[in-house]
């Protein structure tokens, strides 16, 4: 079936089947390879994108469900080459190593920041916000710092 949706700010159409997860459409039809493939079971979170501003796992989203909705991927975050504040915070805080999980963590953080997080930041609340994302390299500490600093610096804007 043909669906129309907003992808990173542009209205686009795509031919999809209900058997396909949105992840595969984003990668194969739009070359949005920042949407990663990790586990096929909804655990790892590397395929996280925003659906109408809320973070979801695109390996679990039946592609037709995107119809009429808005999808934002990691590629849609930075504007005119300027890093999004969350991207900048991950960079400044050494919050990544291999980087494969990073787009997913950043999307989860963007959603979390839009939902009135506690400020000053609360460590357990941050852990809950990122518990749907797995990182194999960092042990999460520097990711927690990146999220925390993104909260405090968004306040100062």
């Amino acid at each position: 079936m043909n669906i129309t949706f907003e992808l990173n700010g542009k209205i686009i159409s795509a031919e999809v089947s209900p058997h396909q997860p949105l992840r595969d459409i984003l990668r194969s039809q739009f070359d949005l390879t920042g949407v990663k493939v990790g586990c096929h079971s909804g655990r790892c979170g590397v395929c996280s994108v925003l659906l109408d501003g809320k973070v979801i796992k695109s390996c679990l989203l039946m592609a037709p469900k995107a119809n009429g909705r808005s999808i934002t991927t990691i590629e849609g975050l930075s504007i005119n080459g300027e890093l999004h504040p969350v991207q900048q915070s991950f960079k400044d805080n050494f919050a990544l190593q291999c980087g494969y999980c990073t787009p997913g963590f950043i999307m989860a953080t963007v959603d979390y920041l839009s939902s009135s997080p506690s400020n000053p930041p609360v460590r357990d609340e941050i852990k809950t916000a990122i518990k749907g994302n797995v990182c194999r390299c960092t042990g999460y500490e520097k990711i927690i710092s990146a999220v925390s600093n993104a909260i405090t610096s968004s306040e100062s804007l």
Binding site: M1, S17, P18, H19, Q20, P21, H40, S41, G42, G45, S48, L51, K54, V55, I56, K57, C59, L60, L61, M62, P64, K65, N67, G68, A108, D111, Y112, K127, T128, A129, K131, G132, N133
Partner: protein, 290 residues
């Protein structure tokens, strides 16, 4: 890719029911669609016609009518967790807080969970404790089924092919009440090894049980009430001893299996421990003390 498959996104309930009636043999209702996506990938589901109910606004509504709360089937875990109406239901909130992760909760729906009928779902025991009814609808009829009857077999809901889940309803607790959900999982947000919900109603002097409801996840073919524990407590004085002794009776009502999450022996042990803890928390929330 399956070229013969069709996917419908009706905007109103009547269209959805018409479609369902037309394709009742082969259609699958989609809410969040996450479990369906997994089943499709694993080849466990062969449906080609999908009717997606998430654009039907009345199915995403939460409302209070005549002392009962109605939660539309397509309500996501996240919107339920954030809704003002649900805040007094601590048994439900406890479970919503520990379900999976933000991404899964943003897509997953209450109706989808109930239709899926997995005995390990965290959301079911609290709803059992609240005596919830499932409202199902076909083109011709609407029926309300007690949740405890809705799930009778492993992964099977009492739903005809031309029916969809419309909503779930439960009464607001009255009197001096409190509830809690306790869970053990291998990792935070993981499937429960065992989950236990407790809802209590206390006497005027908050020293006795007027009513007790206990329900468990992951200890049998379906989520299940523990009438043994309930019976032994209802009418009795509140004491740590009675809670401890009664919680041991939970083993009469459950039938856990050895699996990857733990042995049947461990799960039986956990069921007793968590039952006790859920009761204590529920009593404390009701203002009682131990």
């Amino acid at each position: 890719m399956n070229s013969s498959s069709s996917y419908h996104l009706p905007c109103d309930l009547t269209s959805a029911l018409n479609l369902l009636s037309e394709h009742s043999d082969s259609a699958k209702i989609v809410a969040g669609g996450q479990s369906i996506m997994l089943l499709l990938r694993q080849g466990f589901l062969s449906s080609d016609i999908f009717i997606d109910i998430s654009d039907i606004s009345e199915l995403s509504e939460i409302s209070i009518q005549g002392g009962a709360i109605h939660v539309g089937a397509a309500t996501t875990y996240t919107s339920l967790e954030n809704s003002l109406e649900i805040q007094p239901y601590s048994v439900l909130l406890d479970s919503l807080h520990v379900i999976a992760d933000p991404q899964i909760r943003n897509l997953g729906t209450i109706g989808g969970a109930l239709g899926h009928a997995d005995p390990s779902l965290d959301i079911v025991p609290p709803l059992l404790c609240l005596d919830a009814n499932v409202v199902v609808q076909s083109l011709n009829a609407t029926r309300a089924i007690p949740l405890s009857d809705f799930h009778q077999e492993y992964m099977t809901a009492d739903l005809s092919k031309d029916e969809l889940i419309h909503s779930i309803t439960f009464n607001q607790p009255t009197g001096i009440h409190g509830g809690a959900y306790e869970k053990v999982a291998n990792v935070e947000g993981g499937w429960p090894t065992v989950g236990v919900a407790a809802q209590v109603k206390l006497g005027e002097n908050i020293d006795s049980f007027l009513d007790v409801k206990i329900a468990l996840a992951a200890v049998g073919d379906t989520a299940i009430r523990s009438y043994s524990v309930e019976k032994s407590l209802i009418g009795s004085e509140i004491s740590m001893d009675s809670i401890r002794e009664s919680s041991k009776l939970v083993c009469n009502d459950i039938d856990p299996l050895d699996d990857l999450s733990g042995s049947a022996g461990y799960k039986t042990h956990l069921a007793g421990v968590l039952c006790q803890r859920a009761l204590v928390k529920a009593i404390n929330r009701a203002g009682g003390s131990l």
